[in-house]
């Protein structure tokens, strides 16, 4: 019990020693306790030395040019502060910025919509790719090996049959010229005059009636005279082999053989296997 009392006393005494300032005087209780308690005496001495060590660190002086640098720093901030603290300028700037951003977004959207390959242009591109006269001229990238991404096709001699590839992407990149078949969705074949095509499937076929035939006898609805000649078609598979298909003449009620009478209407001379 006495020991517990001493422990409690030591705790209170040490707390008082801790909280006392350098110029504070100790109470008589603390003084009397320190006389009789060696442990608290050691604690007291350590506390004094520790405070002496820490307080001896002293004050580190600011550099001589502190004021000058501070003035320069404040002067550098003043225009920014002025800019931000004028509400009119702030709103005008933000409005102009928003308007410019909006214009940019609209421009990009229009560019994307315009360059987006539709079904008609894809068909044209497909035809151009398979056509032997044009296919060899179709290659991505310019001769110097840089794939230039431009929104407008390079100028083409109107008299030539060559087509130029205009990539859709607006990002300019430097890539080595790699000869590869362009994906139809990425590139669009264009000429100087944009190819226009129409979807025949969506247009209603002209209905020809017997009366119209008589009335239009003078005008040829079908190129009847051309149907008398055999039709030869050369199909190129794009891998160097071609096949010629010969279609005999077709008569619509005439004396020439009809397709139905000919058991082998197609006379093909295959030059190569597909």
């Amino acid at each position: 019990m006495k020991m517990m009392g001493n422990i409690l006393d030591c705790r209170f005494i040490r707390r008082e020693i801790e909280e006392a300032g350098p110029a504070d005087s100790l109470s008589l209780n603390v003084s009397d306790h320190l006389d009789g308690c060696a442990a608290c005496g050691v604690f007291f001495n350590e506390q004094v030395k520790l405070r002496e060590l820490v307080s001896s660190l002293g004050t580190v002086a600011a550099p001589a040019d502190f004021d000058f640098r501070l003035r320069a720093r404040l002067a550098g901030e003043k225009p920014k502060a002025a800019h931000w603290f004028i509400p009119g300028n702030l709103s005008l700037g933000s409005r102009a910025g928003a308007f410019a951003s909006l214009l940019l977004v609209i421009g990009l959207a229009l560019g994307y919509v315009g360059l987006k390959p539709g079904p008609d242009t894809q068909t044209s591109a497909g035809r151009a790719a398979t056509s032997p006269a044009v296919g060899s001229a179709v290659r991505p990238g310019a001769s110097n090996g840089i794939a230039k991404a431009v929104g407008v096709a390079a100028p083409v001699n109107p008299s030539s049959d060559q087509l130029r590839i205009a990539p859709v992407s607006l990002k300019e990149t430097n890539r080595p010229a790699i000869r590869r078949r362009p994906a139809a969705s990425q590139f669009v074949a264009t000429t100087e005059d944009r190819i226009t095509s129409s979807d025949m499937a969506s247009t209603q076929a002209r209905i020809i009636k017997a009366d119209n035939l008589v009335a239009d006898a003078g005008r040829s609805v079908f190129p009847i005279e051309s149907s008398g000649r055999p039709l030869k078609v050369s199909l190129d598979n794009g891998r160097g082999s071609s096949r010629t298909v010969s279609l005999p003449g077709v008569s619509f009620g005439g004396s020439q053989r009809t397709l139905t009478q000919n058991s082998t209407p197609l006379l093909a001379s295959a030059h190569g296997a597909w």
Partner: protein, 213 residues
């Protein structure tokens, strides 16, 4: 043992610094003058507190260049917020609070800047938790020209190892000589909390500075 009547009987090196006796009323007048655009008044405030603030932040961060930069930032913030300053508390409380927040922010940034962990290189042999590589910094500090520079360096390094919540009250109390009341206002904590943290800080220091006690 002789009877001890006061701790002041022992020689403390905690001399009262002249700049600490700045008149609070004058400080308020100077900040009021700064508010209306008097740059000379602000220059006077800077000359009064630049050494204290620089020294305080240096004791907190142990980096002199950083301390100068943060001290300037402290004054910049005082200047920017001059129109919002209220005279409820002393100006020294106000400026020390700004300096404390900047110093603590810097200490926290340093912790986050440790991008590369070398723990993998220092795995203990028995496969226990890898130890963090924390090499000691034995470079001399800027105040090495003072007497007993090595002892002071040791004290500074010991303080630098304290957690930031213990470091600030200890420096404000034992280095800057602030009262518990003012420290509590600066740190926006209760006096009991301040006293408790100072006690814990001294306990840590006592263990680290055992050789010097």
């Amino acid at each position: 043992m002789d009877t001890l009547s006061t701790i002041g009987d022992f020689s403390f090196a905690a001399a009262v610094r002249p700049e600490l006796v700045a008149d609070p009323a004058t400080d308020h007048a100077l900040i009021e003058a700064t508010r209306v655009g008097d740059e000379d008044a602000f220059a006077e405030l800077v000359s009064r507190y630049r050494n204290q603030i620089t020294s305080y932040i240096y004791r907190m961060t142990s980096d002199y260049d950083e301390a100068v930069d943060l001290a300037q930032e402290t004054f910049v913030r005082v200047y920017r917020a001059a129109d919002r300053y209220q005279t409820t508390y002393a100006f020294s409380t106000y400026i020390y609070r700004i300096a404390t927040n900047l110093a603590i922010s810097e200490l926290r940034k340093r912790k986050r800047r440790r991008l590369v962990s070398l723990t993998g290189f220092f795995q203990s042999k028995d496969g226990a938790e890898p130890q963090e590589f924390n090499p000691p910094d034995n470079r001399p500090l800027p105040d090495t020209e003072l007497v007993d520079c090595e002892r002071r360096n040791a004290v500074q390094r010991a303080i630098a190892t304290l957690p930031e919540k213990y470091r600030a009250p200890l420096i404000l109390r034992d280095v800057e000589g602030k009262s518990y009341e003012e420290i509590a206002r600066i740190l926006q904590a209760s006096e009991g909390t301040v006293k408790s943290r100072i006690s814990r800080a001294r306990g840590f220091l006592r263990e680290k500075m055992r050789a010097y006690l």
